[in-house]
């Protein structure tokens, strides 16, 4: 499998995700935002960070960068696209995913390990997980409070497009287990075709027992298949 990681000025999880991909046997290339050519890829990853310093609005400027036109083209032709954290914000800015990421409800940056629950395992991103499986994954963001209109929310639920929801260690999805105020505790969503996943938690941080756990591994091993 070939992967491409898009690097914007201010991306800072690009090295982490590249390392995770290589560890999981992807043949990965780094693609600079000023490029207008995207190498042939099975997977495009938009990494976390503060692209363009989060100026204007997180993800807003990256959403208009040169390479992003190529990403949109590839996504529309079915290429798998994964946006993590700032990458998720960028995907909503480009319109590849609907909805938006608002400021965390407590108005503070949040970095900690949270529990999320797998809601749909019939996708290229999640096939190695069980439905209802609880993962402990690190979050690190200022704007992770997912919001969307009621029509889209209905579609997300009806078409099973919610990938992950924040929950407690027993799987309860409620206010206490919602770290940032996201609507219906949503931590990650798919587009309608399920070839695009945007998620706030960082699976690339959870592939090494020494630093955390290995709950993120199966996301990558789902993809490699």
């Amino acid at each position: 499998m070939k992967s491409s990681v898009i690097v914007f000025p201010g991306s800072n999880c690009d090295r982490d995700i590249a390392l995770a991909l290589e560890k999981m046997q992807f043949k990965n290339s780094m693609v600079w935002h000023k490029e207008t050519f995207l190498p042939k890829s099975d997977l495009i990853v938009i990494p976390g960070g503060f692209s363009y310093g989060d100026y204007l609005r997180s993800g807003a400027i990256a959403g208009k960068s040169l390479i992003i036109d190529e990403v949109i083209k590839a996504a529309k032709s079915g290429c798998l696209v994964l946006g993590i954290c700032n990458g998720f914000q960028i995907l909503t800015e480009t319109g590849l995913l609907e909805g938006t990421l608002l400021r965390n409800k407590n108005l503070k940056f949040i970095n900690r390990d949270v529990n999320i629950k797998v809601l749909n395992n019939k996708t290229n991103f999640t096939s190695k997980y069980e439905i209802g499986q609880i993962l402990k994954i690190n979050i690190a963001h200022n704007e992770g409070n997912y919001f969307t209109n009621s029509k889209h929310l209905e579609q997300l639920n009806k078409e099973n497009l919610i990938a992950f929801k924040y929950c407690d260690e027993n799987g309860n999805v409620n206010n206490q287990s919602n770290p940032n105020g996201a609507i219906e505790n949503i931590a990650g969503i798919f587009n309608q075709k399920k070839n695009i996943l945007g998620m706030m938690p960082h699976p690339e941080r959870m592939i090494d027992k020494l630093i955390s756990n290995t709950d993120g591994v199966n996301l990558f091993s789902s993809l490699i298949n």
């Binding site: 000025p9 201010g10 800072n12 999880c13 090295r15 982490d16 390392l19 995770a20 000023k34 976390g48 960070g49 503060f50 363009y52 310093g53 989060d54 100026y55 503070k108 940056f109 949040i110 970095n111 900690r112 690190n138 690190a140 200022n142 960082h202 690339e204 941080r205 090494d208 020494l210 630093i211 955390s212």
Partner: protein, 726 residues
């Protein structure tokens, strides 16, 4: 423009210093030159009050590659890997504008580290606030924490450890010390010494604005009622630009285009150009009209004294200009050749071919004033503390009082605002004795910790100075690291006050003794004087940042209890020293008395034996006993786990409070498997190490036999309340 007395005073220069300037120049300086002298000769840049004392510190060992005097210190950790680190204060700006003050403190220290060719891998901080009841504390705490997080999170370097303390001595002068640690290849370290004539002097990074003009002078004076008016002297940080600058510099550093590089920190373009020229015994000539400016009509005076952030000065090898320029262009950063090196040994400043200022480099650097300020020994005539007739408080109530106090409460409200995981090498996050950072793609790691004990330093500066070095050393040992070297940030009051100068001299004496004995040299640091307001000086607050090496990673060690039915062994002797303890402070508001004595020999022996036990894989968890004493340390091992401890009372110690809350030094707690108990006890005995087997781990409950029994969950709640309610 005539240089009047008022102008000289406004530049923070003494009359005698002005006379010296005239003598060195053999004429009157113009305003630009006066500004440059004031920037180079202020306390912050010249170390004029501290220099003669700092010289006494040990700065060498077989691991030290670069000691004090460069942008940061450098140590060798084997296999061509080097660690570059330094701590620096940003106290004054942070009080005036907490978010930007703290943010630019982080930005500045990061530049010091990557200037030397190192990729920053960890950030730490030591922050001190006034009493929680003081009207400014809450907003300062919020501002500083979000400023530190805002910068580190954005640039993508994990903030992994730190300390936060409250004491009314900082009511009107908080402390914000930031430490950065980077990793470099030993054969690829960059220095600031200029070499060669007619080499291009290149300005890279952000444009120069009018922010921070005279920031370093501001940091070299006490605050008064007009402090608020100093807001314009605080710089504004842009972590995004710094991220670009970091990547661009590291990219350029891959080959050998750079002769010398220096970040524009305090005193901006002035100090960076003077330092590079001075170290290389060269002159430097700048064409100031070429300086990229953010605002119109900036004068040479403003350009030379601006402290705009995210800028660097580079001296390039011949013919490398275009290659280097392309790299900075790729990162959308300014890159302008603004001058050249010369053999005149002068700083020559031109604007549109007209010389605006001309100063011999030596006059600014080597000839800067040095003061041997008057100092007085601390008066330690015994205050008679009668601790016999104190109202009795039971153990549990005292423990709860300490665990729920601002200084001992769980700090996750703070640390959750910092990205601790980015870069994916954080083996131990904050909350343990020290953080552990893996060297990327290697199976070794470093441990880092910052520590201070202002109360101890205030009551007995020599012991206090020793104690902080020892505590820092213990913290690294507790996670299984061999301590290698330290950086220090020396926060003190007004050095023109002889008591303050005495505190400084004696604290340094203590630091020196401990560093020498433990072979724990000082490789970098920073002095911050004039911390105080309206003649009221802060407690002496030296802060120690230490780096240790874990040469082979097994499982990272922390202080959390691992399972039930293990033994808890107390290593080191308990005397029950209560003076200066949290116990007396929190329960009886007694803050007088002497700090615990530091026995360097015990410290070293105990530390080395703990390292040996860890090395032989005999320890499940380890914890240093510090502020709060034994019972607090035991509870810290339990809180956050599912396991408590059943603790036996001592057989022959007079008072339970003394035993459980005394703050005697050189002590550790270790959790050991039953099966290893005999071999551990043998090693300790064979090495004449004093120890007590004081308890057994158990499920769910924390108890002292015949005294109290409480659920761990309950303790957790008590320990986690304060910040969330504040």
């Amino acid at each position: 423009m005539e240089i009047t007395k008022k102008i000289i005073e406004k530049h923070g220069l003494k009359e005698s210093e002005f006379k010296k300037i005239k003598k060195l120049l053999k004429r009157n300086p113009n305003l630009l030159e006066l500004g440059i002298f004031s920037a180079m000769w202020n306390e912050h840049c010249s170390y004029k009050s501290s220099r003669i004392h700092l010289k006494k510190l040990p700065t060498k060992s077989k691991n030290v590659i670069q000691g004090p005097g460069e942008n940061a210190g450098v140590i060798d950790i084997g296999d061509n890997d080097a660690i570059v680190f330094k701590i620096e204060s940003h106290n004054h700006p942070s009080y005036i504008e907490p978010y930007q003050g703290a943010a630019t403190g982080v930005g500045g220290i990061l530049r010091d580290v990557f200037t030397m060719g190192a990729r920053p891998i960890a950030l730490l901080n030591s922050i001190h606030f006034g009493s929680p009841d003081h009207y400014k504390t809450k907003s300062l705490l919020n501002g500083v924490v979000s400023g530190i997080g805002g910068y580190g999170n954005c640039i993508g370097i994990p903030t992994v450890a730190g300390e936060t303390k409250f004491n009314e001595t900082y009511n009107e002068n908080i402390l914000v010390n930031a430490m950065a640690v980077g990793h470099a290849k030993k054969n690829k370290i960059f220095y600031s010494k200029a070499k060669g004539l007619n080499k291009s002097v290149v300005y890279v990074g952000s444009k120069t604005g009018r922010d921070g003009i005279h920031g370093a002078s501001m940091a070299s004076a006490e605050f008064d009622k007009n402090t608020e008016e100093k807001k314009p002297t605080v710089q504004v940080g842009d972590p995004f630009t710094e991220k670009l600058l970091l990547e661009a510099c590291l990219e350029l550093m891959k080959d050998d285009s750079i002769i010398a590089i220096q970040d524009m920190g305090a005193a901006g373009l002035t100090s960076s150009s003077v330092e590079m020229a001075s170290k290389g015994s060269l002159g430097i000539e700048l064409d100031l009209e070429k300086v990229p400016c953010r605002e119109n009509n900036m004068t040479p005076y403003e350009m030379m004294l601006s402290e705009s952030q995210e800028r660097m000065l580079i001296i390039l090898e011949d013919g490398k200009e275009n290659y280097a320029k392309d790299i900075f262009k790729k990162w959308d950063l300014d890159f302008v050749v603004i001058g050249k090196t010369t053999d005149t040994k002068k700083l020559v400043l031109k604007y549109n071919n007209e010389i605006k200022g001309e100063i011999p480099i030596e006059a600014l650097a080597l000839n800067a004033p040095i003061y041997d300020r008057e100092w007085s020994k601390k008066d330690i005539s015994k205050i008679n503390l009668n601790l016999k007739n104190l109202k009795k408080i039971n153990l549990l109530d005292s423990l709860i009082k300490i665990l729920s106090s601002p200084n001992h409460s769980n700090k996750s409200w703070i640390t959750n605002q910092y990205d601790q995981m980015v870069m994916c090498d954080t083996l131990q996050r904050s909350g343990s004795d020290a953080a552990i950072i893996r060297i990327h793609n290697k199976d070794k790691a470093i441990a880092v910790s910052v520590d201070s004990s202002a109360n101890y330093c205030r009551s007995h500066p020599i012991s206090g100075g020793k104690q902080i070095v020892c505590e820092n050393w213990r913290n690294l040992i507790s996670v299984g690291a061999k301590p290698i070297a330290i950086t220090n940030c020396l926060n003190f009051g007004n050095p023109e006050n002889k008591e303050v100068m005495g505190e400084f001299t004696e604290c340094l004496q203590g630091i020196k003794e401990a560093c020498e004995y433990l072979e724990y040299p000082v490789v970098s640091g920073n002095v911050s004087f004039y911390n105080g307001t309206n003649k009221k000086n802060i407690y002496p607050t030296p802060v120690i940042g230490g780096v240790g090496l874990i040469s082979k990673i097994s499982k990272p060690l922390n202080h959390n209890i691992k399972s039930n039915d293990n033994h808890i062994i107390l290593v080191g002797k308990t005397f029950g020293h209560l003076e200066q303890s949290c116990f007396l402070k929190e329960n009886y508001s007694i803050i007088d008395g002497m700090p615990p004595q530091v026995n360097l020999q015990n410290e070293k022996n105990n530390g080395e034996i703990i390292l040996k036990l860890i090395g032989e894989n005999l320890i499940l968890s380890a914890h240093d006993i510090s502020s709060g004493g034994l019972l607090v340390a035991l509870s810290e091992m339990s809180i956050g786990t599912k396991f408590g401890i059943k603790i036996e009372k001592p057989k022959n110690l007079g008072s339970l409070s003394e035993y459980f809350f005394g703050e005697d030094q050189s002590r550790y707690l270790i959790e050991v498997d039953k099966n290893n108990l005999a071999s551990i006890e043998k090693i300790l005995k064979d090495n004449n190490i004093f120890f007590e087997n004081i308890g057994i781990t158990q499920n769910e409950y924390f108890e002292v036999v015949d005294e109290f029994k409480i659920k761990i969950k309950e303790l957790y709640k008590i320990n986690n309340e304060w910040y969330n309610k504040y």
